[in-house]
Each structure stands twice: as C-alpha cells, then as structure tokens.
C-alpha cells in the first residue's frame, strides 16, 4: 500500500548544525498494517512521518501510495490519501470554530471547499451520532467552540474527525504526548477501535513502550535515521517490555 524507497533527509545541509534525519529508509507498508514506530529523540521517527505527510522535503528517495508516486505532492495535496493526528491537540483543531464547523472542514478533507453552506440540521445529526460513541457528553455541545474543550476531548474529537471523509491511511504523531494518563488511555483505545473498525492502515509514533506492545501488528525501531529493527506481528506479540528497554540502551 505505502512504499518508502531509499529516503534521505538532511537538515541544515553543509552547516555546522547539519542533522542527518533519515539515512536510507526502506519500508513496505501493507494494507491494514498498524505500524508502531519507536526510537529515541532524534532517531528520525518524526522525520519519517513528516516525509510521508509531506511537511518536509526529502532530498533523495520516493514514496508511493497504491502505486502512485506522491513524492512531489505538497502536504495539502496529500490529504487526499491520508489523515493526520497531531501531537498537540491544539494544532489538530481550530479553536475559534465550533465543533460542527471543525467537523464540516474534516468532512471535506479530500474534496474542494465550495461556496455553499452545508452545516445544516442533517449534518449536525451525522456529527452528533459520531460523537455520541465517545461518551463524553459532547454531542449536545456542537455549537460550542473547540477552544472551550480540554486537550483530551479535542484529541478524541480529532480521531473521529479523521473518519469524517474517506480515510484509508492515518498517521498519528505521538497523539497522547500532551495528555494525562486517563485521557491518554481513552484516546489510544479510541484510536485502536477506529483503526480496526475502518480497517485503516496506520502509522503511530509513540514514546509509551507499553502502548507500543499493546497496539499494532508491526513494530519499527528507529536509530540514527534508519530502521534498526522491523518486528512482524507474530514476533511482536512475544516481545517483553525489558527487551524494548534494552534496545534503547
């Protein structure tokens, strides 16, 4: 489904602060894979995700999705292929807009934004039904602005927003890093549920090693801009937390 071929990415090239973020990453992600990426800070996890999302321009290599080369597409052009969940819940939602307006925008991720008003009662009913599954009582607050909600609530909503439009691939960049333990657990459970119900192909970056063991069917360990270990489903289920800690040493 997604092919990463020989990706190289360097920041501040030729400078004293040169950082080799990606040094030849090759990876084939199959349809329905739920890949968890772990690694120390600076190992290239975020660079890998950003390269797929299109927010950084890699200097060598290519990325294809279903055989279509997306390497030269801008980040906003790649939204047709993928949904993204940000580390900072404040970034993933528009705080001055109501919940329903945020959902309207999310429902047009792959479509053009026209001069028509479609946030009518029918649309609100669809949003209400979707939000009800969160059990947070937000379905009665559709006209409230996002800015009045907590980080956990906003992050949970972004997960639902990702499925408002046709979605096959979802990229999650440490979605629980800014949340308290309880909200983190809710958001991860919800993410897992959405990925399995909708049979999504997912790439999750996390620093929570427990989450890395619990979720996903494949584990990538990044080190110095390369994929250091690629652990398939049957081996991943046998992994122990201690082993993961050892690899970080």
């Amino acid at each position: 489904m997604i092919q990463l071929i020989d990706l190289f990415l360097t920041f501040n090239k030729g400078d004293a602060n040169e950082v080799k973020a990606l040094q030849g990453v090759n990876c084939e992600i199959s349809k329905g894979d739920f890949i968890v990426v772990i690694g120390a800070n600076g190992s290239g996890k975020s660079s890998l995700l950003n390269a797929i999302a299109g927010t950084v321009v890699f200097e060598k290599g290519s990325i294809t999705i279903n055989g279509i080369n997306i390497s030269n597409l801008k980040d906003y052009e790649r939204s047709k292929f993928l949904s993204r969940i940000f580390q900072n819940p404040l970034q993933g939602t528009a705080h001055d807009l109501s919940i329903v307006d945020n959902f309207r925008l999310a429902s047009l991720r792959t479509k053009s934004k026209n001069l028509t008003i479609k946030t009518d009662n029918d649309f609100e009913e669809i949003v209400r039904e979707k939000i009800r599954s969160l059990n947070m009582g937000l379905e009665e607050k559709l006209q409230q602005t996002m800015g009045t909600l907590s980080g956990g609530q906003r992050q949970a909503l972004t997960l639902i927003m990702a499925t408002m439009d046709d979605c096959k691939i979802i990229l999650l960049d440490e979605p629980t890093a800014a949340l308290d333990p309880k909200s983190s657990a809710i958001v991860m459970e919800k993410a897992n549920e959405i990925i399995s119900i909708n049979k999504l192909t997912a790439v999750l970056i996390t620093h929570q090693l427990k989450d890395a063991l619990t979720f996903g069917n494949r584990l990538l360990l990044m080190k110095e801009g390369k994929i250091y270990k690629d652990i398939p489903s049957h081996e991943k289920s046998l992994l122990k937390l201690e082993q993961l800690y050892d690899w970080f040493q």
Binding site: Y76, G92, T93, H95, L97, L108, K113
Partner: protein
C-alpha cells in the same frame, strides 16, 4: 447635534474598513498596514472615475478591484517571498503612496457637481440620503461577509488563522487562502475610501495616514463593548464591529466638540487603541 450625525455617517462609512480589518486581524492574525494605502487607493479611484462621469456602481467595482489588487500584492509578498506580514504591508503601503499620487496627478481632487453613489437614491434631504444609502451599503456588505464566512470555503478561511497545520492537513492551500483573505480585506477597505471620498467631497493623498490604527481601534472597541454579541454567531460579530466603528467616531467627535485641537486627533486615536490593548493585557496579568 450636527457633529453627532456627521460622526454616525463617518462611522458607517468606516465600517467597511472595520470589517476588512476584522478579516485580516481576527481571521488571519495579521495587522495589515496595507490598509492605509488601499483606503486612499479606493478614494483616488473613486475621485478619478466620478470626475470622468463614470457610473457610480462601476466606480464602486473599480475601487473594490483596486483594493483587492493591493491586498493580493501584500499576500503574494508575504506568502511567496516569505516576508513578514507586517513588513509586506508596509512595503505595499509605501509603494501605493507614489502610485496614488501618480494616479491622482496632484495631491487633492475635489468632487464638485458630480453624480455619485448617494445621488442615485431619490431622497431630497441630503443627510437622509447619505445615511440611508450608506446603511444599505453596509447591510449588504455585512450580509455578504456573514454568508461567505459560513460557507465551506469560509470555514476553511476562518480555520487558517487558528491552525495552519490542521488546515493544510485538511487539503487547503493556506498560502492561497491568505492571499484571498488579504485581497478581500483590502477590497473592503477600498470601499470605505469609495464612500468617504464621496461624503467629504474630495480625495486627498494623505487621507489614509494612520487609518489602519482607527480601524484596529474600532474593531477592538466593538469587540470589547459588545462582547455578548460575539458568541451569538458571525453576523452578530460583524454587527459588533459596525457598532465599534460608530462608537469610535463618536468618541473622536466628542473629543473635538469639547475643544480638542484637531492636530491632536491622531494622538488621541493612538492613545485610545493603546488603552484598549493595555487594558486587555492588564486583566489577564491580574489572573496570573
């Protein structure tokens, strides 16, 4: 009483500029200095067209287009050349001074005995004619903007100022959105130039100096005094801004009526804006 009516007409005339500032400042977080130049440009185009017997409605369209081109330039400089938005605005404003002077051919062009937008309305009382035609104008503009901001396109536009990352992830070219937004904002500003040039009966090369500050002030006064309106929806937010423009002009008119030297008008304007901004900051300071 006369000064109050004058202040009301001026306030209504400046509402288009206030709505433009609302778009650049509140939606895109850009205090857009281009305003000074695009307001004058709107006035200059209006004066030239009307003295050449161009139809007032066609004049309106041309003034609007002039402002939109100015805004587009600021947007292009800001997004494509990655120049700070404030500096981009200052650059275009400075360049517009020369362009306005070149278009006008002299520093002041009076409108005497021309057919203008006001005279299109068949009312014999001049005050009434001006007030009614400006109210019609601002009503149409507010309804249009409120409709635009509620469309899918408008939702994407409003989200752009909040989180660019999110809006790009939703498939929106945020650079393009900023350019359109600045064009729209400066188009509105030029419409104020269109109205006030006709109201005061002349276009002047210096008519735009410091106008951006009174626009910012009007938006802030409106949002502070009419806060309860803001949560009721977009059209109420726009109404609060129009009311802010009226209040701001009334404050200045009152200051003049109690004997303020007109030379200090810009100083008073700057102090009012500073007070409003500072009061907001002091309030949040206390919470800490």
């Amino acid at each position: 009483m006369d000064f109050i009516i004058t202040a009301l007409i001026q306030g209504l005339g400046f509402s288009a500029l206030g709505l433009g500032i609302f778009i650049s400042l509140r939606i895109f977080n850009i205090p857009d200095i281009t305003t000074d130049g695009s307001y004058t440009l709107g006035g200059v185009i209006t004066a030239i067209c009307l003295t050449h017997d161009v139809n007032p409605l066609l004049t309106l369209v041309l003034a609007l287009l002039g402002g939109m081109i100015a805004g587009t330039l600021t947007g292009l400089i800001h997004t494509l050349l990655k120049v700070n938005a404030l500096l981009a605005g200052i650059l275009v404003m400075t360049a517009l001074y020369s362009i306005n002077l070149a278009l006008l051919g002299r520093s002041n062009l009076p409108l005497i005995g021309v057919n203008d937008y006001f005279t299109m309305l068949p009312i014999s009382n001049q005050f009434l004619q001006q007030i009614v035609s400006i109210i019609i104008f601002i009503t149409f503009l507010s309804i249009f903007l409120s409709w635009l901001l509620k469309t899918d396109f408008g939702i994407a536009m409003r989200a752009t100022g909040n989180s660019e990352a999110m809006v790009r992830a939703m498939g929106v070219n945020t650079n393009q959105m900023k350019i359109i937004g600045l064009a729209l904002a400066n188009g509105c500003t030029a419409l104020s130039g269109f109205l006030l040039t006709q109201y005061q009966g002349f276009a002047d090369i210096n008519m735009g100096i410091g106008i951006v500050i009174s626009g910012l002030g009007s938006v802030m006064v409106g949002e502070t005094l009419f806060k309860p309106l803001l949560k009721k929806g977009i059209i109420y937010h726009l109404i609060a801004i129009v009311l802010g423009c009226l209040t701001f002009r009334l404050i200045l008119a009152l200051a003049l009526s109690i004997g303020l030297d007109p030379n200090y008008l810009k100083l008073v304007t700057a102090i009012i804006v500073l007070l409003i901004v500072a009061l907001g900051n002091i309030k949040s300071f206390k919470k800490i």
